[in-house]
Symmetry: C2
Subunit: 348 residues, 2 copies
């Protein structure tokens, strides 16, 4: 399929997803829509609430593209329960739009676990994928990204699953981030295969036998160092590492404040002009990995584009998530994943 023959991109947004829904979801998505101008946007959720945000913010949006969904999944809903208890949630309806081909992508800043479950059951998995993965970029010392997968779609993954995380994420890095032959590392407590869990050595074996660019075991200090483009692990540890990394800017802010409060000399050292000159430096240095800017986390391996954002997503974060979905469609990410998995299956 080429860009000439493929249908116009259509993206559905979960208008009810996130701590500031429906406002941020609706406003952010419509901003992306007017900026890019080349895709259809579906707003999924409670029609009256969506219309209310549109009118209060004087937005220009054709209400034919509002898709009503009666139920709302909140942050406290147990992910798997939502399938049964809330079959008409905005997440279920949004995923169904992708399933039926009406949309190519579905984006939500709602309950992450519920979005994983609704995407998998709503869109289905791509043939050959046993477990999808959430893949996240972290900043590194080389002014680039070290990607981490899985950051929490699943815990208790088996070697085959982690191998698939590496395969799926490598395609993302190649097609979307332009990294030709992504270096894949496996997180461990030492370089030798004798270190770590049996899970780790069994996974290393699978990765070594594949034609992925596996560079071996890497350690916790390799994430920031940028030793690998992609580091794979079970979703338990990936999720903890991601949340730890995301809390770093707040910690630094507090550390500087604590230091500054200790003496006048310290205060002057930090803020010679009355404001911290490196605050901006830090903010900009870390900004590309800022949740607002990364455009959410793709759930790779489902049969369609599924992007999950932070509950606290700003309108900018939502806008960037929608634009990320658009880019994945334009770059044929799902098609590329299917081709690669077919190739793998044939080799076996």
């Amino acid at each position: 399929m080429t860009n000439d023959t493929k249908s116009k991109c259509a993206i559905a947004i979960d208008a009810m997803g996130g701590d500031f829904a429906p406002h941020n979801a609706v406003v952010g998505a419509i901003e992306a829509f007017h900026e890019a101008k080349d895709f259809d946007l579906y707003l999924v959720g409670k029609t009256d609430e969506i219309k209310d945000v549109i009118s209060k913010n004087n937005l220009n949006f054709n209400s034919d593209f509002i898709v009503h969904a009666d139920q709302v999944i909140d942050m406290h809903d147990h992910p798997t329960d939502t399938m049964k208890k809330k079959p008409n949630s905005s997440m279920a309806v949004g995923a169904k739009l992708v399933k039926t081909g009406k949309a190519h992508a579905f984006v939500s800043a709602g309950n992450t676990g519920a979005m994983v479950v609704n995407s998998i059951f709503g869109m289905g998995r791509i043939k050959g994928v046993s477990r999808p993965t959430l893949t996240a970029p972290l900043p590194n010392s080389n002014d680039g990204f070290t990607f981490l997968a899985d950051v929490g779609a699943f815990v208790d993954s088996k070697p085959q699953h982690i191998f698939e995380f590496a395969l799926l994420s490598s395609i993302l890095l190649r097609e979307i981030y332009g990294i030709k032959n992504p270096r894949v590392g496996l997180i461990n407590v030492g370089e030798e295969d004798s270190k770590g869990y049996k899970l780790t050595s069994d996974t290393a074996k699978l990765l070594r036998e594949s034609d992925l660019n596996f560079i071996g075991n890497v350690e916790g200090n390799d994430i920031f160092k940028g030793t690998a483009d992609l580091i794979v692990c079970d979703g338990f540890i990936g999720n903890i590492l991601l949340k730890f990394a995301e809390s770093m800017p707040s910690f630094l802010k507090a550390a500087i404040k604590n230091y500054s409060n200790k003496s006048l000399a310290n205060k002057l050292r930090v803020s010679p002009f009355g404001f911290p000159p490196t605050k901006r430096a830090f903010k900009e240095s870390l900004s590309k990995a800022d949740p607002d800017n990364v455009g959410g986390l793709p759930l790779l391996g489902v049969n369609g584009i599924s992007i999950i954002g932070h509950g606290s997503s700003s309108t900018l974060a939502i806008k960037n998530m929608v634009l990320a979905a658009r880019k994945m469609y334009n770059k044929n990410l799902i098609i590329k994943i299917k081709e690669e998995l077919t190739r793998y299956a044939e080799k076996k």
Copy 2:
């Protein structure tokens, strides 16, 4: 046992341990010895090399306190193999000094895994301990520490082991850091017990049933936040988290440099006087958790004080490790652990 009746503190240092051994180990330990003046110091390793460092640095040290050990464990030795292949290593000899009561503490900046193995087999475990733990302090936003255990003594720990990590480390925090009733958190991917591994929910159950101050599951962002005084986990994830955290200062340095190199405006923002004013702020803010200052990591649960330092330990780091060992002796840490474990065994 009170301070009046107990014998004079004696500390053994692995003179051959660390990337800069024997220099840093010998110089750092002798500095601590002359500063504190109230303990005996044994230098364990190759006598001629130790004497060489003493004479070249014009140090004042009674050579009767050099304990000769023929063999040296290096960073590439497989930990468990060292017991059989290097029975006369400085680590084995040092641990034996504690076993026989000649020393109360043994300190090394050598191969961490080998030090864990040699301490366990050389000193033995305290009755009631199935697995010792390496416990590490990380800085937090409250200008204090969040301790993490286990950071790599063992991987693949069972609920009972992780419970013991919590018990042993709580005693450390109370007796050495003056935290009266340490709040214990269990690392997980969510607050609910239904999240995470079966290992996690089984461990939560043990912690909840105990009289430890268990505050429940905590997430990756709680480490810096300081939600808990102590966070427990398997050594696999603890080790990865510790190494990730330790690599943060280098990453920040690189991030500021990358930012600064992008434009002259950026450079001036970072260094209005030609040097970065917040560099010192950061250094001091993070310094208390700096490996040089924390005094190494105690291996808790072995029958004696065992402290393990970074391979790259400076003389200052070694000095602080020796002083940390002295403090643990003076505060009766091992006696307190034995009392607490006896109390636990009786309750069962």
